[in-house]
């Protein structure tokens, strides 16, 4: 580790903490329908959208109606994406003729199972990619089928989080807001106004933004090279801001056209964290006690810093298996271009790559600027664990906040058990129904990750079968030994957690993996949203009880420590055995010089 590396990490998190309050306040005003900076121009557009879509913007919905709207909207937009992908060969903005008879040799076919997997992936805010963008997707597919979802899936997540908070503040009302207006306002007041300057800033640094066909030329040393282009900057902005993470190119944010300089790298990391951080302030503002939001933000910041420093430490230490070849990887001589440089870009070095890896897995983003498959075992462990903890450390846009609220509910429940009192959170009694829903939230994720990984580890297909042309499920792996198992565990963790990053050695573009991972993404999104909205519904019907002397203050240091412990213990108890078989044993074997 270097001094400058640590400075960069603290500089980053300080900027996040600085922006969180003003942005959180802005989001609060937007969702309350108050006048804001852009209301003059945006209010008429908002009204126009309601008129075009014929929406009753005054309606107040109960939790069931709200959930039905979330699901219906997701299904409809998923179908739109599926159709756009399947018929992309017939649609315009296809300069490389993908899917046509004169398609270039490198083009990958858009199969129905790939379109299915991709449609679920982008609808659920996962952005797992079984394809490589530059050889599979037309420009129209990228912007209309995929980037569109980057906006609305993120807005849906934020809307659900806000609805959950409304459940807490409603005093026997039974309603939690209007999904249509939440969705529309978040998209046009929050996401679009940030994306426009962000995209232009990215272009100013070298991120491409054009509709040109690919360019083939002879390089300086007489080789052929073909550059792929596209509408990258506009997609890059929302990819990170909405914690989506689906790269325009295969190499994602490691590709120089997506992330050309350390400055764009910083902007991209900031845009990943900023909305989840701000939402904690919005939360505090809505429950009329900003200390509640600060407590959650403190928990997030502490877990984030631990994860980052551990990852950075192990990446900087490097791979001892390089020693016999007299390679210099000492960071005290080479700075942050030493350490484990396999799968990392030189312009980012070890510090910014470790930081990005933790940022993208703490949230449900999944954009990568280094290859997670090449991380050292302990670095890989942290990214894997971050996802398995439920992505509540900042977390996805919205999904992080409702995730940590679920953990907070569990924490007060545990604290209540210890002292023998009915637990309360934010003035609402936490009873059987709430705890059941919170447990469902946690168990479904664990089920999807562990059971599906187990299935994929043992399943056998005949070679060249339709379901998996590689044969058995483990033949799709790029690594053998414990690291191979980590690849599988990571894939199902990433999809269930709606993260979308990968230990990318796994060749997942076969019907078996496309469908099983698709189901994991579906469970990880909607079977989280339904219990959490049901919890909000039940809370919204309850009476607000004023805090008494016996109420456990959920803004205290004690609560912060308890919440951190609950998050870590639940995650560790659930996943420790599986992690032992993967990264933990790999770390010991690596130190002994064992290769696979």
């Amino acid at each position: 580790m270097t001094f400058l590396g640590i400075c960069q990490i603290f500089f980053f998190i300080s900027l996040i903490l600085l922006i969180a309050k003003p942005l959180g306040l802005y989001i609060y005003n937007v969702l309350e329908g108050n006048n804001t900076l852009f209301s003059g121009i945006l209010r008429p557009s908002e009204m126009l959208i309601y008129r075009l879509a014929n929406i009753d913007f005054c309606e107040e919905m109960n939790w069931l109606k709200y959930t039905q709207c979330v699901i219906a909207f997701s299904l409809v937009s998923m179908l739109l994406t599926y159709l756009l992908l399947i018929f992309q060969n017939l649609l315009p903005l296809n300069p490389m003729h993908f899917g046509l008879s004169d398609a270039p040799a490198y083009a990958t076919k858009m199969t129905p199972d790939l379109a299915f997997n991709t449609a679920i992936s982008f609808t659920t805010n996962t952005n797992w990619q079984s394809y490589a963008g530059e050889t599979t997707m037309t420009y129209l597919s990228q912007m209309l089928a995929l980037a569109f979802h980057n906006f609305v899936s993120s807005a849906t997540g934020i809307a659900v989080a806000i609805a959950v908070i409304r459940g807490f503040i409603a005093n026997r009302v039974g309603t939690i807001g209007n999904f249509w207006t939440d969705l529309t306002r978040i998209t046009i007041y929050i996401l679009l106004p940030i994306c426009i300057p962000l995209a232009l800033l990215l272009v100013s640094q070298g991120v491409v933004q054009n509709l040109n066909p690919y360019l083939t030329f002879t390089t300086l040393d007489n080789h052929n090279q073909t550059l792929s282009f596209g509408l990258v900057a506009s997609q890059e902005a929302i990819k990170n801001l909405g914690t989506n993470g689906g790269g325009f190119f295969n190499a994602n944010s490691a590709h120089p056209f997506e992330n050309p300089t350390p400055l764009t790298n910083l902007l991209e990391m900031l845009s990943i964290f900023i909305i989840p951080a701000a939402l904690t302030y919005t939360f505090g503002k809505m429950v009329k006690d900003t200390r509640q939001g600060v407590a959650l933000l403190t928990v997030m910041t502490i877990i984030f810093l631990i994860g980052t420093l551990v990852t950075y430490h192990f990446e900087a230490k490097g791979n001892p298996n390089f020693k016999p070849y007299n390679i210099n990887y000492a960071t005290n001589q080479l700075g942050d271009s030493g350490g484990n440089m396999e799968g990392k870009e030189l312009r980012f070095g070890i510090a910014n790559s470790s930081l990005f890896a933790v940022v993208t897995t703490d949230t449900s983003c999944g954009a990568v600027n280094c290859l997670h498959d090449c991380l050292t075992p302990m670095g890989g462990l942290i990214t894997l664990l971050n996802i398995e903890l439920g992505e509540v450390v900042f977390g996805g846009t919205g999904s992080g906040l409702y995730g940590i609220i679920v953990f907070a509910v569990l924490s007060v429940f545990i604290a209540g058990l210890m002292v023998g009192r009915t637990p309360e959170y934010l003035g609402k009694k936490i009873e059987k129904k709430e705890v059941k829903m919170a447990m469902l939230f946690i168990l479904i994720a664990a089920f999807s990750i562990l059971v599906f990984t187990a299935i994929a580890s043992v399943i056998n297909f005949p070679k060249d079968s339709f379901w998996n042309s590689f044969g058995s499920g483990t033949n799709n792996l790029n690594n053998v030994g414990p690291h191979g198992f980590s690849e599988l565990l990571y894939a199902f963790s990433s999809c269930t957690g709606n993260n979308g990053s990968a230990f990318a050695g796994l060749s997942a573009n076969t019907p078996f993996y496309n469908i099983l991972l698709g189901i994991a993404m579906f469970l990880g999104r909607f079977f989280m949203i339904i219990p959490v909205l049901a919890m909000a519904g039940s809370l919204s019907e309850k009476k607000l009880v004023p805090a008494s002397i016996g109420t456990f203050p959920t803004y205290s240091y004690l609560f912060v420590i308890l919440l951190i412990s609950v998050i870590l213990i639940v995650g560790a108890l659930t996943f420790f055995p599986a992690l032992c078989l993967g990264p933990i044993i790999e770390e010991f074997l690596m130190r002994q010089g064992k290769l696979f």
Binding site: L4, I49, V203, N210, N321, Y325, L346, D373
Partner: protein
């Protein structure tokens, strides 16, 4: 329930047009007015106005007279259509020792020593024998360039000082003094090298 689906269809279409068509096309228009060069790939041209590459995308250099970039696992090396890396973990035998179709760290280090006539006692910077994430990394480290300098000087019949001066000139510093890593763009360094009398 049917009304909910009808509302969903209408809102999906309206939002898709706004965020999936209007937004990206407006950004494309603005980007091409404000940052024409960068929006189109930061291309570099030779004297005959023919494209010879992008400033941001690394190229394969196999001739001895050019500085060479990092190993690349994108296709057969620096294939910009197949961006990506090795995806091999720290305990991978293939990554460390290689096999008959794949150069591991062992072979890459041996080749680097052979080409640059460095003996085994001299350490090679790790970035010179490891592949980047994109396979298109345009940069190398100062240490890596310095180890290649004697070879360049002897192939091009230049004094070693001239080459090392050029390297010093091409060092790109950290942004704002502390963000990112210092680095040298290989393509630009090689273009400068060709311009030397």
């Amino acid at each position: 329930m049917i009304k909910i689906f009808l509302d969903s269809i209408k809102l999906t279409l309206v939002l898709a047009i706004i965020t999936g068509l209007i937004y990206p096309l407006v950004i494309t228009g603005l980007a091409n007015i404000m940052f024409d060069d960068k929006a189109n790939g930061s291309l570099l041209y030779d004297q005959n106005h023919k494209v010879i590459g992008s400033k941001l995308i690394g190229q394969a250099f196999t001739s001895n007279k050019y500085f060479q970039g990092r190993p690349s696992r994108a296709g057969n090396g620096y294939d910009a259509l197949l961006s990506g890396g090795s995806n091999l973990g720290s305990t991978s035998q293939k990554l460390i020792e290689g096999n008959k179709d794949f150069d591991g760290i062992k072979q890459l280090a041996a080749k680097y020593r052979l080409v640059n006539k460095i003996d085994f006692t001299t350490k090679i910077p790790v970035e010179a024998v490891t592949a980047s994430a994109s396979g298109l990394d345009p940069d190398i480290s100062y240490e890596n360039a310095m180890l290649q300098a004697p070879r360049i000087a002897s192939v091009r019949h230049l004094s070693q000082n001239k080459v090392t001066d050029l390297i010093e000139l091409n060092v790109q510093k950290r942004e704002l003094g502390f963000i990112g890593e210092p680095r040298i763009n290989v393509l630009i360094l090689n273009l400068d090298l060709d311009k030397l009398p």
